[in-house]
């Protein structure tokens, strides 16, 4: 179980303190599927960065499975079972997809195993397994590989930052299935997803709305979703498609 207790995050910008997050508290219970949503710039990715250790809170505590992890390094948190798929995945020269999946899994992978993770995110494994994770991959491909690394890693808590971004709508149902399998496969595993997608909000157990650096609302999906439909926090796939075309 993950718990944020009164977490705040302030940075210095040109000598002046800028408060990015203030007094954020919430829990992600085991076997739960929690979605964080809210307007751009609200502080969602910052929450993910604080949970994974990429940034350190300036106030409050983060508890994971009863242990205070507020001051632990990224590596230590990863070893405890925190997984994090970035909003903007990283590219590497010379590291291929199989290397990355092997590093994620923490042990040697057979080609079959590596391929199974790729197929689950809708990539034809044969074509990708030896590709370098470099600039030659498209944004959507990279995003899927990022998700596959978490499948290979099987962390106790998986944090996904806008996993749907750049992924075509036709694969959407598969993506949702991936999350559901993930939650069921890992005993006591839980999932925290940052998303604007109505269909992802719709399968959540709980929804947290973050705006302007604080939690505006949180609660069971059925309580929160009705307030969101029609706002920018919950955009249905069709609306986006229409807007794009």
């Amino acid at each position: 179980m993950l718990e944020l207790q009164n977490v705040s995050y302030t940075v210095e910008d040109e000598g002046r303190p800028v408060e990015i997050l203030k007094d954020v508290s919430f829990k992600v219970d085991d076997r739960k599927f929690v979605v964080i949503t809210g307007p751009n710039g609200g502080g969602k990715s910052t929450i993910a960065r604080l949970i994974s250790g990429v940034a350190v809170p300036t106030g409050g505590r983060i508890i994971f499975d009863g242990q205070d992890i507020t001051k632990l390094s990224i590596t230590e948190r990863a070893k405890l079972g925190v997984g994090y798929a970035l909003q903007q995945p990283v590219r590497f020269k010379g590291i291929d997809v199989k290397d990355l999946l092997r590093i994620a899994a923490g042990h040697k992978l057979t080609t079959d195993e590596a391929c199974s993770y790729l197929s689950r995110v809708g990539l034809c494994a044969r074509d990708y397994i030896n590709r370098e994770v470099n600039a030659s991959l498209s944004g959507g491909e990279l995003k899927r590989i990022e998700i596959a690394t978490l499948l290979a890693r099987k962390p106790k808590l998986s944090v996904f930052d806008e996993p749907e971004a750049g992924i075509d709508l036709w694969s959407f149902q598969n993506l949702i299935r991936v999350f559901e399998i993930m939650r069921s496969e890992i005993e006591d595993g839980s999932i925290l997803i940052i998303s604007h997608q109505e269909r992802i909000l719709d399968i959540a157990d709980e929804i947290i709305v973050v705006a302007d650096g604080h939690i505006e609302r949180q609660g069971p999906k059925d309580d929160i979703l009705p307030h969101l439909v029609g706002t920018t926090s919950a955009i249905s796939g069709c609306t986006r498609l229409v807007e794009r075309s």
């Binding site: 390094s73 970035l86 590497f92 010379g94 590291i95 290397d99």
Partner: protein, 305 residues
């Protein structure tokens, strides 16, 4: 050969025993074994100053190994090897030099290699440099590679220096006739106070010649690297050079790319990028459970693969 010499041989040429095909193994200034084949003749020059290697026209899928090992401190040698690669042949040449210096004097090997690649021939040249030994004497390698590519011939060079060489000054020159193709891949890592200078001068004289010179390097500690590449386009041709370096600690990397086009249809490109390991790459691998040092290692290994 003793154990040290055998280990160096496996480092520079992946050899554990005598190789197949033609070979000459040079150990501390003498020959520790040589074999010519029907198509590949290895003829020593007088007084151990080098070799003439003659490959018959049409020789296909054959290889020549000419590793060099220096295991005595204070050895200094200049060796001249000339390669005559017959028309339409397709061969692999594995060179490479390893120095074990356990003493206080400098050890140095300067290999001057000249290649005459015949019309339509294809040559792959692999050269690894390696140094070891905990003496205070320096390990120095100054290779000169001179390539003459006749019409429609191809030379692919793979040059690797990852460990243990204190000082290198590598000079590679090439002249390309029509339709000739040159591909160079250099992989370099320097550490400590090492210095590595790579100079390339490529003359594309023939129509439709192409060249692609790519260097990937990592400079650690207080080491110094210089990449100096001049590509001359003297005919309708395509040339590309690239220097991609990761800089660490207090190292210094200097890239001096030059393109000289003197034909309207010469298309020349240079790319150069020097920078430290990207922070987001380290972070990503750390979120997968690696420590910072392990993440660095993975990134560098991949980069130099």
């Amino acid at each position: 050969m003793d154990d040290i010499q055998k280990r160096i041989l496996s480092e520079v040429a992946d050899l554990h025993d005598v190789p197949e095909g033609a070979y000459n193994i040079r150990v501390d200034g003498g020959s520790a074994g040589r074999r010519s084949t029907e198509n590949i003749e290895i003829i020593p020059k007088p007084e151990g100053s080098g070799l003439d290697i003659r490959i018959k026209p049409g020789t296909r899928r054959e290889s020549v190994h000419i590793p060099v090992i220096l295991s005595k401190t204070g050895m200094k040698e200049v060796v001249y090897n000339d390669f005559y690669i017959g028309e339409d042949s397709d061969v692999v040449i594995v060179a490479g030099c390893g120095i074990h210096n356990g003493g206080s004097q400098d050890s140095q090997h300067d290999g001057i290699h000249r290649f005459f690649v015949g019309r339509g021939a294809k040559m792959r040249y692999v050269e690894k440099h390696y140094g070891e030994g905990d003496g205070t004497g320096k390990r120095i390698l100054n290779p000169v590679t001179e390539l003459h590519l006749e019409a429609d011939s191809t030379a692919e060079l793979e040059m690797v220096q990852i460990r243990g060489v204190d000082s290198t000054e590598r000079v590679t020159t090439a002249e390309l006739a029509e339709g000739a193709r040159l591909v160079v891949q250099e992989r370099l890592m320097t550490h400590g106070t090492q210095s590595a200078v790579s100079v390339y001068k490529v003359d594309m004289n023939g129509e439709n010649s192409t060249s692609d010179v790519v260097s990937r390097s990592v400079a650690r500690d207080d080491s110094y690297q210089k990449f100096d590449a001049l590509i001359n386009g003297n005919a309708p041709c395509r040339g590309h050079s690239e220097c991609d370096a990761i800089i660490m600690d207090r190292a210094r990397v200097l890239a001096v790319p030059q393109l000289d086009a003197n034909n309207i249809d010469a298309a020349l490109i240079h790319e150069a990028a020097i920078g430290k390991i990207a922070g987001d790459q380290l972070i990503k691998l750390m979120t997968l459970g690696l420590t910072e040092a392990e993440a660095e290692e993975q990134i560098i290994n991949g980069f130099l693969k």
